[in-house]
């Protein structure tokens, strides 16, 4: 096949004659094409005035378009009040997101842009193939990061963590007697254990001395409290017990480790861990009732404040990321040989495809809270995302099913003959081919989904269209409807057109239909 790609093979050996040349290597005499077959005149004649009907049509259209253009230009230049966009661009972009926190959506946007550029850069270069997995992982993780960034989050302080661990580990309220005394012996136990492990694994004298030194040190630290004879259990006994059990435990660990080759290397890490643990135990281990005292890293911004283009982008990306795997699962379920699973997938897909998106969004807004426990409330934005996800997934499932059915049966049979399990046949052989076949259709579906994000304006969320229509209702901007909705149309047009162009390119590059 395709000898054209390896053109050198097709040439007669030793011959350098190119086709189209006369024998003897002379070029045929060149003549200019007749006048009137090239240039602007010919173009006009061929494309606009090829027949009398066409000529008449052209004249009518020129007059019509000229009139329309004049009207539109007059409006755009003289009458339109573009100030409404200049005055509101912040609101249009970020909606009601708090002013001083706007760096967070900006950073998220930059993150996505960076990832996109990286993806583009890496995927164009076959030699950078090993970077593909990290980038895919980054894409998968990015929604989480962006979500945290936008939503704001708090982290428990080190103090809170240690507080909790200490409480549940030692339950000081249950063992008050031990509680008073537990720190020193615990540290001694830990250090003694590691020291004896080292002792077993390493016979060098210097190392052994170095290992024992901390034990002695901690033991000395324990001395003052050990000498005080208070409480039911003599503290000295506890200290001694901790040291001895630590040493014995460490010795058996050491023997276990001596069977492997990594034992000595592990010891270093054991020392590090136990020293840190000791430090915590001795200094910073307040034990009391566990209380959550988080440190606010980023102030919380409720999703109800997410709006404007920001919300449009969030809705679109989250829906795309969530609906794709769901769509694949539904498609696989629909082509499955198990009747129960197939029937339920068919039911979900057909019902969702049979009703308008707006009814699904309505259902998600109204019924989702009713189907969940009373004390669990989901934000309106998340409900909208849930509705859009199931809707898009059903359509994607149909598209992907088309791809699954287009994969030749021999591929499946060959994969089975190689001994692959059903799971591997699907994930390594069938799905990759099926998905490649339907990339244009998937992109078409995503474009359609992006346009459909406007529907959440109907259920009262302030995405781009929602915020724009609320701007037109302000007294100051009354009568700016056309300007504002033209802006919306331009935004969606640019994004959707870019997506479809990208899809056409991907189609060509992946060779859909040619391989």
């Amino acid at each position: 096949m395709n000898l054209a790609h390896t053109g050198r093979l097709a040439d007669p050996p030793g011959g350098s004659e190119r086709p189209g040349l006369l024998p003897g290597g002379q070029a045929p005499p060149m003549e200019r094409p007749p006048r009137g077959e090239t240039g602007a005149y010919a173009w006009l004649r061929h494309n606009l005035f090829s027949s009398s009907f066409n000529a008449g049509l052209t004249l009518v259209l020129v007059v019509l378009f000229g009139w329309v253009a004049a009207v539109v230009l007059r409006w755009a230049v003289l009458e339109a009040n573009w100030g409404v966009i200049l005055k509101n661009w912040r609101v249009i972009l970020w909606g009601l997101y708090p002013r001083q926190e706007i760096w967070r959506p900006t950073a998220s946007l930059l993150l996505v842009l960076l990832l996109s550029v990286l993806t583009w850069f890496v995927w164009r270069r076959p030699e950078m193939r090993r970077w593909r997995t990290p980038i895919l992982v980054a894409w998968v993780v990015s929604p989480l990061v962006i979500g945290l960034l936008l939503r704001g989050f708090e982290l428990p302080t080190l103090r809170t963590i240690s507080n909790n661990i200490g409480y549940y580990l030692f339950r000081p309220d249950l063992l008050p007697a031990v509680n008073a005394m537990w720190r020193g012996p615990t540290a001694l136990f830990l250090i003694a254990a590691v020291a004896s492990t080292t002792w077993v694994l390493d016979s060098r004298r210097s190392v052994r001395a170095l290992a024992v030194a901390p034990v002695v040190l901690i033991g000395l630290l324990n001395l003052p409290s050990a000498l005080r004879a208070t409480g039911g259990v003599p503290p000295a006994l506890a200290v001694l017990l901790a040291a001895v059990t630590g040493w014995l435990v460490g010795r058996s660990i050491g023997r276990l480790l001596s069977w492997t080759e990594h034992g000595r290397r592990l010891v270093k890490w054991l020392w590090l861990a136990s020293l840190i643990a000791c430090l915590l135990v001795l200094t910073h281990f307040p034990v009391g009732r566990p209380e959550f005292d988080p440190a606010q890293i980023l102030t919380s911004v409720q999703p109800s404040l997410w709006s404007g283009i920001l919300l449009t982008l969030i809705l679109a990306t989250v829906t795309a990321v969530l609906s794709f795997p769901l769509g694949v699962l539904l498609a696989l379920g629909r082509t499955s040989r198990l009747p129960v699973i197939r029937a339920s997938c068919v039911a979900v897909i057909e019902v969702v495809r049979g009703v308008p998106l707006i009814t699904i969004l309505f259902m998600a807004q109204v019924m989702l809270p009713m189907f969940l426990p009373l004390d669990l409330s989901i934000d309106r934005v998340l409900r909208a995302i849930a509705g859009m996800t199931i809707f898009t997934a059903a359509y994607l499932a149909e598209v992907i099913r088309g791809g699954l059915q287009a994969v030749p049966r021999e591929q499946v049979e060959a994969a089975r003959a190689l001994g692959l399990s059903e799971l591997l046949v699907t994930s390594l052989v069938v799905l990759p081919q099926a998905l490649r076949l339907v990339i244009p259709a998937i992109m078409g579906q995503l474009v359609s989904m992006f346009k459909d994000t406007t529907l959440v304006a109907i259920i009262g969320l302030l995405e781009l269209l929602g915020i724009l229509s609320s701007i037109t209702k302000q007294r100051e901007f009354l009568g700016t409807v056309r300007e504002v909705y033209l802006l919306a149309a331009a935004f969606y047009f640019v994004v959707c057109y870019a997506m479809s162009v990208a899809s056409r390119r991907a189609e060509v590059r992946l060779g859909v239909g040619t391989r």
Binding site: L338, G354, V355, P356, I358, L374, K451, T454, R482
Partner: protein
């Protein structure tokens, strides 16, 4: 289960057949468990809100009036409001289906025109409309165009069509004395036309004689009513245009601004998609087919009717069905511009009664039935168009 010797020592948990059944049972149980959990939550929520699941609330008085379409008054029950919404939806869907097919056909042919200007104008229309959301278009048309049209006093009169921000008036046909007779001539013409078509078509098939069945049928179907119109002493139908009477328009066929905007938006939007389908359908017929038909001596019209159209129809109808379904579903965006269609009325009923579950069930069932109806009709059409034996 037949036990072959090689299977006898294979444990049952590795037997694919057992696993399949077990997997499905597990799936069913899990699904049932989730469903039970959801239903119990629903019951709690309903109890907390003092609601039930019966449909008897539909008989209660609605308390709101609808002036669009067939209309209803405040004292009518909910079910009537629902039906009025359904009627409004159906009217916009039916009108939309017819008009969008026309627009799509014209734009699709324009996409293949040899005239550069027309071709690119059509391409621009298709790309711009397809790449912007329908809701934005509807908002633009309704708030930006229809509502900013001149008031009734300065109404725009394009011949018999009257445009204003209060609505669009078309001339209304009013039957006159001779109307029944004329209607009869239409019916007779139609019947004779069908009869002539089948007869002549059969003769053409049997003898190969060129009988022009289509043309003769067309002549009968158009000719007889035309004859009736001319022969009758006065025209059987007169067209009544609306006139301003004080502050309101009298007569004519009124389209509310909402209906007009929704219809225009739906038709333009779906038409752009249909245009591309038509274009693809025409291009899908192999060039050789056309050439072969011509070399058989078929006339241009017959080439189109007998060779090109039947084949492109097969390509066109399935995606066309999808677009028809989309138009029907997209008509629910009416709510955004205040047209009281099925969805908008359901939303109002829900707001008033709070009966979420029943309203949504009714709404979804109605839309599903509507979608099913369109698919059934189009599938029937598709089967008729399919070339037998392939």
């Amino acid at each position: 289960m037949a036990r072959s010797p090689s299977r006898s020592f294979e444990p049952f948990w590795r037997d694919v057949r057992v696993l399949r059944v077990a997997g499905q049972i597990a799936f069913t149980l899990a699904a049932l468990a989730v469903a039970a959990w959801l239903v119990s939550n629903l019951n709690q929520a309903l109890e907390a809100r003092g609601l039930d699941l019966s449909f008897s609330f539909l008989r209660r008085t609605a308390g709101f009036a609808i002036t669009q379409g067939p209309g209803m008054v405040r004292t009518d029950p909910y079910w009537k409001a629902f039906l009025v919404g359904l009627a409004n939806s159906l009217s916009v869907i039916l009108a939309g289906l017819v008009l969008t097919t026309l627009i799509g056909l014209l734009a699709g042919i324009a996409l293949l025109s040899p005239n550069w200007l027309l071709r690119n104008a059509a391409r621009t229309y298709v790309e711009v409309i397809r790449n912007t959301p329908l809701l934005v278009q509807l908002f633009f048309i309704y708030f930006g165009v229809v509502l900013t049209m001149p008031s009734l006093q300065d109404r725009l009169e394009l011949g018999p069509v009257i445009l204003s921000q209060r609505g669009v008036w078309l001339p209304r046909p009013v039957p006159q004395d001779g109307y029944p007779i004329w209607l009869a001539s239409v019916a007779v013409g139609l019947a004779l036309g069908v009869w002539a078509y089948t007869r002549r078509e059969r003769r053409r098939r049997l003898t190969g004689e060129e009988t022009r069945p289509f043309l003769s049928a067309l002549a009968l179907i158009v000719g007889l009513p035309l004859l009736g119109w001319i022969v009758l002493p006065e025209p059987p139908l007169s067209f009544e245009t609306a006139v301003l009477d004080g502050l309101r328009m009298v007569g004519g066929l009124r389209m509310t601004p909402e209906f007009f905007a929704l219809l225009l938006g739906l038709v333009l939007y779906t038409g752009a998609f249909i245009a591309d389908i038509v274009r693809a359908g025409i291009l899908a017929v192999a060039h050789g087919q056309r050439e072969a038909a011509r070399s058989l001596g078929l006339s241009e019209g017959n080439v189109l009717r007998l060779v090109v159209l039947p084949q492109s129809m097969r390509v066109v109808i399935p995606p066309l069905t999808n677009q028809y379904l989309n138009l029907a579903k997209n008509s629910s965006l009416a709510f955004g511009i205040g047209y009281l269609d099925l969805y908008a009325v359901s939303q109002i009923i829900f707001n008033q009664s709070g009966q979420a579950v029943q309203v949504i069930a009714l709404l979804m069932a109605t839309y599903l039935a509507l979608s099913l109806l369109i698919s059934v009709v189009m599938n029937w059409f598709n089967r008729r168009m399919a070339i037998p034996g392939r």
